[in-house]
């Protein structure tokens, strides 16, 4: 440190310290506020029935924990069935969307493609103008997709945004390997499968994870298009139960002594709905932050 007047050094030190204290306080407060609601719901879902009967409330620090709520909840036919239907919708919807979007993005990224400029113009058009809820709904009914999984997969199959993101990604992959393969006589399909796809996996994976989260977390489309009680999806069943304030319609068949505390049941449902995405999100973060850092470094 060069010769500096002590006054300045002290001001530097004080400023630095107060800044760190403020920063640390802010972050700690934020973490606490973030974790508290999650803590409330998780502890409620793990509360054994006997504790609730003894205390008549849901303590913030439960004296005992139990997984009985989850066992019982998942065994219920409405819940288990709805959960599986949601899983099926998410997996098939994501798979199809990723396949179609990736193929199209690769195609559009090919520089010599005749008509490419018009295709891009068309895509920009879809970013600015898009059909609203009612025409889409009408189309679903006209095509008799109502009350099928297709109604949840087809209308939102290709997002222009994700398509453009993937296109940019494909364009950023190096051209030389491709040209070499072409000279060696590889077909377009071979080039895509053997050369481009392996390199493109991070980008494709990131977009796939986003699409998957979108499908699993969806409520409105599922509520709108699947009304048959035997086919409803998990989020819809959960929401109805939360809004009704009771879960009798689910627990009707169970004897009174065996019934779970109401909030415990609701909390267990909620956690079940959140769990798949909670398990996935570290993977999203890994690829996403890598992509962001790459973008930042490149410029």
């Amino acid at each position: 440190m060069v010769n500096r007047p002590p006054r300045l050094l002290i001001s530097r030190f004080l400023g630095e310290t107060t800044f760190r204290i403020v920063g640390l306080a802010y972050i700690l407060a934020l973490v606490a506020v973030t974790l508290f609601p999650i803590w409330v719901v998780v502890t409620r879902s793990l509360l054994p029935q006997w504790v609730y009967l003894r205390l008549s409330r849901y303590p913030l620090i439960p004296p005992a924990l139990s997984l009985e709520a989850y066992e019982r909840v998942f065994a219920l036919p409405q819940i288990g069935g709805a959960f599986l239907r949601s899983v099926w919708r998410t997996l098939s919807g994501t798979g199809l969307a990723v396949a179609v979007t990736t193929l199209a993005a690769y195609a559009i990224s090919r520089r010599g493609l005749p008509g490419r400029r018009w295709i891009l113009k068309g895509l920009i058009f879809t970013l600015i103008f898009w059909p609203g809820l009612l025409p889409t709904y009408m189309m679903v009914r006209t095509l008799r997709l109502y009350n099928t999984t297709w109604a949840l997969i087809i209308p939102g199959l290709v997002s222009t945004f994700y398509l453009l993101v993937m296109k940019t990604f494909f364009e950023s992959l190096s051209v030389e390997i491709e040209e070499a393969a072409k000279i060696d006589g590889a077909s377009d399909l071979q080039i895509l499968l053997r050369i481009v796809l392996p390199l493109a996996i991070p980008g494709i994976l990131t977009v796939s994870l986003y699409i998957m989260v979108g499908h699993w977390n969806d409520y409105f489309a599922a509520m709108l298009y699947v009304t048959d009680p035997r086919k409803r999806l998990f989020n819809v069943v959960l929401r109805e139960m939360l809004a009704a304030g009771n879960y009798e319609f689910v627990m009707k068949s169970v004897r009174l002594e065996e019934q779970l505390p109401p909030e415990t049941a609701k909390a267990a449902f909620t956690i079940l709905a959140a769990l798949p995405m909670v398990l996935i999100y570290p993977f999203v973060m890994k690829y996403f932050t890598r992509g962001m850092m790459l973008g930042a470094i490149k410029g």
Partner: protein, 319 residues
């Protein structure tokens, strides 16, 4: 067999050979066109063709059994009915109010988070904070609703009963004020960490030399903030702000449709929920679509205006 890229025809080539070159190029790319096909079909049906009913529906009176082509023309009558409806002013007000509240609550905290996380020394602390703060973004609105009922719903809501014990009764799912607070608060809670990512990325790409220079010039942490950190954030902050403004007419429908109930329609009913009630539940496609078109029009004005403003302030826009 896809081979080398198309060679551009020599300048002044005659038309017939040019056409053959075009045809040959298309043949060369035939597999590529095949890859395009599924997406193209999707766009043709669900994005391009549907623009026709999007416009026509608003101009017609759709009765039961009507299609967009068999229904009766009423031209601007649907729009007149929409503007005359007693719900119209409330819905517009709610939409702007909720968007405004969301922006006011959600704008500053992510920026602060990014600044403080950026300044954290230990990478472990950085990662742990980010891991925790990004988590709620992956909760669906139904899960959020579940969390909010656990906290705010009588009789067992953790926070609502704690408030009641202190005499502050607030019915979060019935009274307008508390409902809005819960709505906006939970939305901010959920997306705070995620929104900070953009700002954090912007800070990460700042040249470290700037920070060193500030240090040499004798700046303490607050000086660094004023002269390096905040100026670096100004472009991205402006962009995010103008993006938020552009989408003001779409005020968080996904959350509201999960949270709302008839008791709070007075404040929670926004344009999109009104369209849903008119068009889907009320089966008045014409009226609903008129409102929807009106919303798109206003939205476009905001998007375009927002983009102009961004370009003027930051130098670049969305396009």
């Amino acid at each position: 067999m896809g081979t080398t890229s198309a060679i551009s025809p020599p300048v002044g080539a005659a038309k017939a050979p040019g056409l053959r070159k075009r045809a040959r190029a298309i043949w060369r790319f035939r597999w590529i066109y095949l890859f395009l096909l599924p997406a193209a079909l999707y766009f043709l049906v669900w994005r391009f063709y549907l623009m026709v009913p999007t416009v026509l529906m608003a101009l017609k009176k759709m009765d039961i059994g009507d299609t967009v082509y068999t229904a009766r023309w009423v031209f601007l009558d649907n729009f007149r009915r929409a503007f005359a409806s007693p719900y119209f002013p409330a819905v517009i007000r709610n939409t702007f109010l909720i968007s405004g509240l969301r922006m006011a609550a959600g704008f500053v905290p992510p920026i602060l988070l990014a600044i403080f996380v950026f300044e954290l020394k230990r990478p472990l602390a950085k990662q742990a904070t980010q891991l925790v703060s990004y988590l709620p973004h992956f909760f669906s609105w139904v899960v959020m609703y579940g969390i909010c009922t656990a906290l705010f719903a009588p009789p067992d809501g953790t926070i609502s009963s704690a408030l009641e014990r202190r005499g502050a009764t607030a019915r979060f799912f019935v009274d307008s004020g508390p409902f809005l607070a819960m709505l906006v608060g939970s939305a901010t809670w959920r997306d705070l960490g995620w929104s900070a990512i953009l700002f954090l990325a912007a800070l990460s790409s700042v040249d470290m030399e700037l920070f060193d220079a500030a240090k040499v010039d004798g700046a303490n942490a607050w000086g660094r903030l004023r002269h390096v950190t905040l100026p670096a954030l100004v472009p991205i902050i402006t962009l995010v702000f103008l993006l938020d403004v552009s989408y003001v007419v779409y005020a968080g429908f996904d959350q509201i449709v999960v949270y709302y109930n008839p008791a709070v329609y007075a404040v929670a009913d926004i344009i999109d929920t009104w369209v849903y009630r008119i068009g889907i539940q009320g089966a008045d496609y014409g009226l609903g679509q008129a409102v929807s078109l009106f919303q798109s029009f206003v939205g476009l004005v905001f998007i375009y205006g927002g983009n102009l403003l961004t370009r003027r302030v930051v130098g670049y826009g969305l396009w």
